[in-house]
Structure formats: structure tokens, C-alpha cells
């Protein structure tokens, strides 16, 4: 039976995979489903994880034949190679990933017998990618921190996807609005620093005035944040309705921090 291949942005329906312990009809049916799905979608291989099964099973195409790999473990490795890879989970996207050039794996066949397999070239790379899936990872986890950020940001704005669904249905984890908030926080910290500095210098006259200007900037930034955040939130229908609550709360916290700093400054400097 052809099953749906889970694709981004749908989260993989199971969050982890586990070893097969019982080799029965249920397992054989899963393997057949994997084969049918591979043929239907013209893929080179699938991990059961990618069709929503939590079993540690991989089926890959080796020429015209299928390799059925159950409970694989990557034991030996040698060499290192950078490959440009695609995966069914991120259709239309590719990434450069560091892989082992050749590998040795141990696994079980459908009878539960232990097998070993040495592979190099494309098969080695395919197996590595599929084994990652069985442990709950897409190739994103193989990227450097910078590449990962770049790839995820690309996903956030929908670059490379085949439809516009990412733009509208997905709620990104990082927003531009956070930068406005960061600026407001930095100014608030600077105001606090000014207050601390005032304890160590004799001419304090300019400090409170500077703080008043600074406080004005923070208030302005908070107002900009309040309206921009709502605008940004509306771009993504996938972002929950609690957005407005978050925005109000965030602004309130920012005002509270500012009030504490300015209250203390007024107490120590305002009357001077």
C-alpha cells in the first residue's frame, strides 16, 4: 500500500524510532508499504520513520532490487566526503552535507538474521541519511551551526518549496520583531549602567537628563514593536491566536523593566 511520505512543514508524526523486536506479518507489511511508496514516488529509499512508523526499518533501492534493512547500526567508517543531498522530507531543497566515504553496517534481515554490509559511493551516502532518520534526524542535524541557521531561515521564508504553503501556514520560530525588542532591552540596560556609573562620579547633572531621552527611545521602540509585531504575526496564519497576548505581555514586561530603572534613577538622581 502506498503511504504518504511526510514532508516539511508537517512534523514527522513520530518523534523517534525504536528497534524492531518482533519479526512478524506487521513488519513484512511495513516493508511492502515502503517498497510501494518508493516506487510510487520514484525515490531511492525510505526510512519507516518517513511514513510515520516508529520502527527502525529502512528500505533502499540497490539497482533494481530492494535492500531490506532492519535495526541498522553504522559500525565502521572511513574517509570523508561533502555531498549535495536531497531528501523527500524537504522537497525541492538540497544541502551540502559531510558524510563518510565508505561505511560498514550491521543489520538484521526479515528473518531476524544478523547481516553485515559494506558500502561506498552513493549507496553509502544514502544509507547514512536513512540511518539518521531511524534515530530521529533529518540531514539538518549534520550541518554546521551556521549552515543549519541558513537552511532553517530559508525554510522559514519558504525558499525553495514548491508551494506557498510555508509562507502562510507555518509559524516561524524567529521574528524580525525580536530585533526591536532586543534594541529596547539594550537601551534599558544602558540606562541601568548610567545609574550605576552615577555612584562613582561627582558631576551627575547630565545623567538623569540622558536617561529621560533614553527612556523616550525605549517607549518609542515598544510602541513600534507593538504594532509591527501584530502586522508580522498576521502574515502567518499558522501562528496561534495567543500572539496578541504574547505581544501585550512582552510590551508590559519591557515597560516594567524601564519603570524599575527609571524609578530608581529618579530616587537617586531625579531630585539632584
Amino acid at each position: 500500500m502506498v503511504r504518504n511520505v511526510i514532508k516539511y512543514p508537517t512534523p514527522l508524526s513520530v518523534e523517534y524510532a525504536t528497534d524492531v523486536r518482533v519479526f512478524d506479518e506487521k513488519l513484512f507489511a511495513l516493508i511492502e508499504d515502503l517498497k510501494d511508496t518508493i516506487n510510487e514516488n520514484n525515490l531511492d529509499g525510505l526510512a519507516a520513520y518517513q511514513i510515520g512508523s516508529y520502527y527502525n526499518v529502512i528500505v533502499v533501492k540497490d539497482g533494481e532490487n530492494f535492500l531490506e534493512i532492519i535495526n541498522p547500526r553504522l559500525i565502521g567508517h572511513s574517509g570523508s566526503v561533502e555531498t549535495q543531498e536531497t531528501t523527500a522530507y524537504y522537497p525541492g531543497r538540497s544541502a551540502f552535507i559531510q558524510r563518510f566515504e565508505s561505511i560498514s553496517i550491521v543489520y538484521q534481515d526479515r528473518d531476524g538474521e544478523d547481516r553485515t554490509l559494506k558500502a561506498s559511493g552513493d549507496l553509502a551516502i544514502l544509507l547514512q541519511r536513512k540511518i539518521d532518520y531511524t534515530f530521529g534526524a533529518t540531514f539538518i542535524q549534520k550541518m554546521s551551526k551556521e549552515d543549519k541557521e541558513r537552511f532553517e531561515n530559508g525554510l522559514d521564508i519558504g525558499a525553495g518549496t514548491t508551494s506557498s504553503q510555508t509562507q502562510s501556514e507555518y509559524c516561524p520560530r524567529t521574528f524580525t520583531r525580536d530585533k526591536i525588542l532586543l534594541a529596547a532591552n539594550i537601551v534599558t540596560v544602558l540606562l541601568l549602567l548610567l545609574l550605576i556609573i552615577s555612584f562613582f562620579i561627582s558631576d551627575k547633572s547630565f545623567i538623569f537628563t540622558s536617561q529621560l531621552y533614553g527612556a523616550g527611545i525605549v517607549v518609542l521602540l515598544d510602541i513600534i514593536y507593538f504594532f509591527y509585531a501584530q502586522y508580522e504575526g498576521k502574515k502567518y496564519v499558522g501562528c496561534g491566536s495567543c500572539q496578541i497576548g504574547n505581544i501585550i505581555g512582552t510590551v508590559a514586561i519591557s515597560f516594567l523593566k524601564l519603570s524599575v530603572v527609571m524609578g530608581l534613577s529618579y530616587y537617586f538622581l531625579g531630585s539632584a
Binding site: E15, Y16, T18, I75, G76, G136, A137, Q141
Partner: protein, 489 residues
């Protein structure tokens, strides 16, 4: 007045003895037999092994603590158990051999009403040719299993650092010294603490570092791996470990049975049947564990060791030891009360009890060599089991034989583990993990066998602070300082 004899004064034995002494008061007698003069907080040995702590900081003298608690203390090792007594008396007894300087080699018998076997393991260096003889560490590698071993390891590490400073590259090989080892966590901590120290010493670029382990994947840790919730995502410990190894520039060799150790070289066999050699300048290889070799005799003096102990030397308890395939392993196979099935007044706690089977997936090479981690029973589970056993024994002593036994199955027990990856107030890191249950329950939690809501981990500086605080906290507790009972196991 009844007498409880506790064999061993490690985490499990010390917990059992101290709680039993507190709950029993002066009504009954608690006796501890342990070959060591000092108590050792073993998790901190890795910091001794990199010169960041002294032996004195991770140990303390047991005698004054036991005197304060009203516990009779014999610095001796247990040799044999006669659970049916001897011909002259029905009273069961243990035979001990003193290890203290003043009475070394002298033997004595101690009668008991209840016995808790918490001897911990024999460090079976002798299982791998060249790794050592019997329980003695060999000359080619170092160890962090005891505080003295760790001091020696630290000296060797310093020598290696000096060589690197003088311009000689050094190869570090850290991991397990046999296909049936446990305690991968300690080796994991040690390799990253060494890496951290090498960076501090400015010689990291002169070091090649390699991990060798019997795990079938990085991050198995003898528990079949775990799935951790990190920052809202579920991540396998494999990915977590692989990214840490890659980030720190540590290569790895897994699914490996170390078959022979020579000067500067190990031979190994891998799960895929291939064999190979790995050279080293500095190696820390954890030995496999075995029972301490206690013998048991019946009333007639006949050897009944096979009745009381499993073939690996650990004591049989209320587990299901029927051999069965991996597919049929159940959480209910694991012991609940740790009571010996033949002699009901004997219990085992910590590493000393025989587990029904391993936790990780059983693996063997095409040559038939078993290569898989054996189950960890150290740290938190040891303490929890020790306390449950103390509860049971105290109830039996005060309420009679019909008392309800307390239970602490590892299949219903969570455990927290903080694995250090470098010591430093501002630049330290540690991976803090909790796992529930320790032994997967595939019936209750289909899939991984664990509850991912209670299985999570995080790596960072805060983890290091927790690890460092725990060091002081557990030594404070073990010294029975005020409020010690409030500190959890």
C-alpha cells in the same frame, strides 16, 4: 537484638547501612564489612583523573562516620557466605578477611540475621589480555575506576601534556576495554574532560583523540540510548553524542570488543566481524565488571555458589532469569525487592545484584563474540535500591517475617545523570539527563519503552554547576552531616 550485616560500603552499601542504622536505632546492630578505609564519591574521580581535584577531595575516612552512626565497621573483604550456618549452629554467617594494616590477612566469621550484599563489582581487568591481571590494572593503560587509579591517570596525563608541549604528538584512546563493559558514561566524561584540559593547556592541536566503545551506536550508554527533549525537540542520544564528538574533534570506533592490549597498541574486533589495531600514547579503558568472587556453602559445607550467585558472580534476586530472546524481554523480568529467592534473609543492592538480561539490544559479531554494553546499576539507581532494601530489612527486623517488602524496580524508576564534559566555573560543560524508566517498558510505552515527557537532557554550563554542587551535596550526605536524610539518593 538482631544483626544486619552489609557487605560493601559504596553508594548502595553505605546508603543501606546508614539508613538502617538510623531507622533501627540501638535496638538492633548494623555491621558494615568493606575492604576500603575510605568512602569514595566515584563520579568525581574523572576530575581527579585530569588533575582538577585531589584524592582527598573525593574521599573521606569511613571509621569516624560509622562510629557516629553507631555502625560496627570491619575493614575487610567478604570471602564466603554460609546462609544455613554450620554443623554446630543454624545461625548463618559470613567469613571475612581483614584488609586493614593491623589485621591484614586475618579471617573471622560474623553471624547475621539479615545480610545485604552490596559489594559492587570486581574490576575484571584480567578479562582482556594485557589490560591487567585479575582485578589489578595493567601497565599499559590507566583507569579512573578508583581514586588511586585516577591519581595515577592524572600523572600520566601530565606527562603526555609535557610531551606535547615539547612538540611530540600524542594519541589518546579512551573507552571500554572489553566487549561486555558497562560504565561508558565514565569514559565519555573522561575523554571530554581530557579534551577540555588539553585546550586549556594550549596543546589540543597536538593531540589525536579517539573513542573506542562496545556500544552499537554513540550515545547508547548501556541503556539502549535515550530520546531526550532538548529545547522542545526530541533528539536521540546518538545525534546528541555525534554532534558533541564532531564539535570537539573526537573520532570514534564503536561496536568494538577490545581483544588485546599491548604497549601502545590495542587489538579489537568489530560487530561487523572485522578486526583491527589502534595505536595510542595514552589510553584509559574501562574494565568489564564481574562479581567479587564470593563463595556460598550450605550447612554441610558443600559449595552452593551456583544456587546463590549467577554465573557472572552477581547475586540472584527476585528477577526472572529464564533465558529468553530479546523480543520477549519484559519490564517485569527486573527485580522489585532484591531478595534472594532461596534465602529470604539475604538481599543484594547496587551492582552486586544479577540483572536478568542487558538493557541495550543484544549484539554479537559474525564470529559469535558478544559486543554490547551490560546494564548500568550505578549512581542514582544504586542509592534508591539501597534505601528500599534498608526499608525492607528494617521492617522485617521490627515487624517480623510477614512485613511487606519495599520495591524499587529499575523498570519503574527514573534516574538523573549529569555527565561532565569539562570542568570550569565559567567554561565548564556537562550534559544533564533524566531518563524514565531506566529499563524500557515496551508494553507501557510503545516505541522507545520510555516516557519522553520525563526523559530529557540539556548540555551547558549550568549542567557543570549542578554536577559540582552534587559533588559537595553527596559527600555531605555520605558523611551523615545534619539534614543528610533530606538529600535524595
Amino acid at each position: 537484638m538482631a544483626r544486619l550485616v552489609v557487605l560493601g560500603g559504596g553508594v548502595a552499601g553505605h546508603t543501606t547501612a546508614t539508613f538502617a542504622a538510623k531507622w533501627l536505632g540501638s535496638q538492633h546492630e548494623v555491621v558494615v564489612v568493606t575492604p576500603n578505609a575510605k568512602w569514595n564519591w566515584i563520579p568525581s574521580n574523572i576530575w581527579v583523573g585530569v588533575g582538577q581535584m585531589t584524592k582527598e577531595e573525593v574521599t573521606f575516612d569511613l571509621a569516624p562516620v560509622y562510629a557516629k552512626a553507631g555502625i560496627t565497621y570491619h575493614q575487610a573483604k567478604a570471602v564466603s557466605i554460609n546462609p544455613e550456618g554450620a554443623e554446630s549452629s543454624d545461625k548463618p554467617f559470613v567469613t571475612i578477611e581483614y584488609t586493614s594494616a593491623d589485621k591484614a590477612g586475618e579471617t573471622e566469621t560474623i553471624e547475621y540475621d539479615y545480610l545485604v550484599n552490596a559489594t559492587g563489582p570486581k574490576l575484571n581487568f584480567g578479562a582482556t589480555p594485557g589490560l591487567g591481571e585479575g582485578s589489578q590494572l595493567g601497565e599499559h593503560t590507566v583507569s579512573v575506576c578508583t581514586a588511586d587509579h585516577a591519581v595515577h591517570a592524572s600523572e600520566k596525563l601530565n606527562e603526555a601534556i609535557e610531551k606535547m608541549k615539547a612538540g611530540t604528538r600524542q594519541k589518546f584512546l579512551i573507552g571500554t576495554g572489553h566487549g561486555m563493559c558497562t560504565c561508558q558514561g565514565a569514559a565519555f566524561e573522561y575523554i571530554f574532560n581530557i579534551e577540555h584540559e588539553l585546550r586549556k593547556a594550549g596543546v589540543r592541536d597536538m593531540a589525536d583523540m579517539k573513542w573506542i566503545s562496545n556500544e552499537s551506536f554513540l550515545g547508547d550508554f548501556g541503556m539502549g540510548g535515550l530520546h531526550m527533549k532538548v529545547g522542545g525537540y526530541v533528539v536521540s542520544s546518538k545525534l546528541f553524542a555525534e554532534s558533541l564528538f564532531a564539535e570537539r574533534g573526537v573520532d570514534w570506533l564503536i561496536g568494538a570488543h577490545t581483544s588485546k592490549v599491548e604497549n601502545g597498541k590495542v587489538e579489537y574486533e568489530l560487530l561487523d566481524g572485522s578486526t583491527g589495531e589502534e595505536e595510542f600514547d595514552f589510553a584509559m579503558l574501562i574494565p568489564p565488571f564481574a562479581g567479587v568472587g564470593l563463595k556460598a556453602y550450605n550447612k554441610a559445607g558443600e559449595d552452593i555458589t551456583d544456587t546463590v550467585f549467577a554465573p557472572n558472580g552477581f547475586m540472584k534476586v527476585d528477577a526472572d532469569y529464564t533465558p529468553k530472546p530479546y523480543a520477549e524481554w519484559k519490564a517485569s523480568d527486573w527485580p522489585r525487592t532484591y531478595q534472594n529467592p532461596t534465602y529470604k534473609n539475604m538481599f543484594a543492592a547496587g551492582i552486586a545484584f544479577a540483572p536478568p538480561h542487558i538493557i541495550s539490544k543484544p549484539m554479537k559479531s559474525p564470529n559469535g563474540t558478544p559486543i554490547n554494553p551490560t546494564p548500568p546499576r550505578t549512581g542514582m539507581p544504586s542509592g534508591i535500591i539501597g534505601k528500599a532494601v534498608a526499608h525492607s530489612v528494617c521492617d522485617l527486623m521490627t515487624k517480623g517475617d510477614s512485613a511487606h517488602l519495599h520495591e524499587a524496580s529499575m523498570a519503574e524508576m527514573g534516574a538523573a545523570c549529569v555527565a561532565s564534559a569539562g570542568k570550569g566555573v565559567f567554561d565548564g560543560t556537562a550534559a544533564a539527563m533524566t531518563v524514565y524508566p531506566v529499563v524500557p517498558d515496551f508494553e507501557k510505552y510503545p516505541g522507545t519503552g520510555r516516557d519522553t515527557d520525563y526523559t530529557f537532557g540539556e548540555i551547558g554550563l549550568a549542567g557543570h554547576w549542578i554536577k559540582h554542587i552534587l559533588h559537595y551535596l553527596f559527600i555531605y550526605k555520605a558523611k551523615l552531616n545534619p539534614g543528610w536524610t533530606l538529600i535524595p539518593e
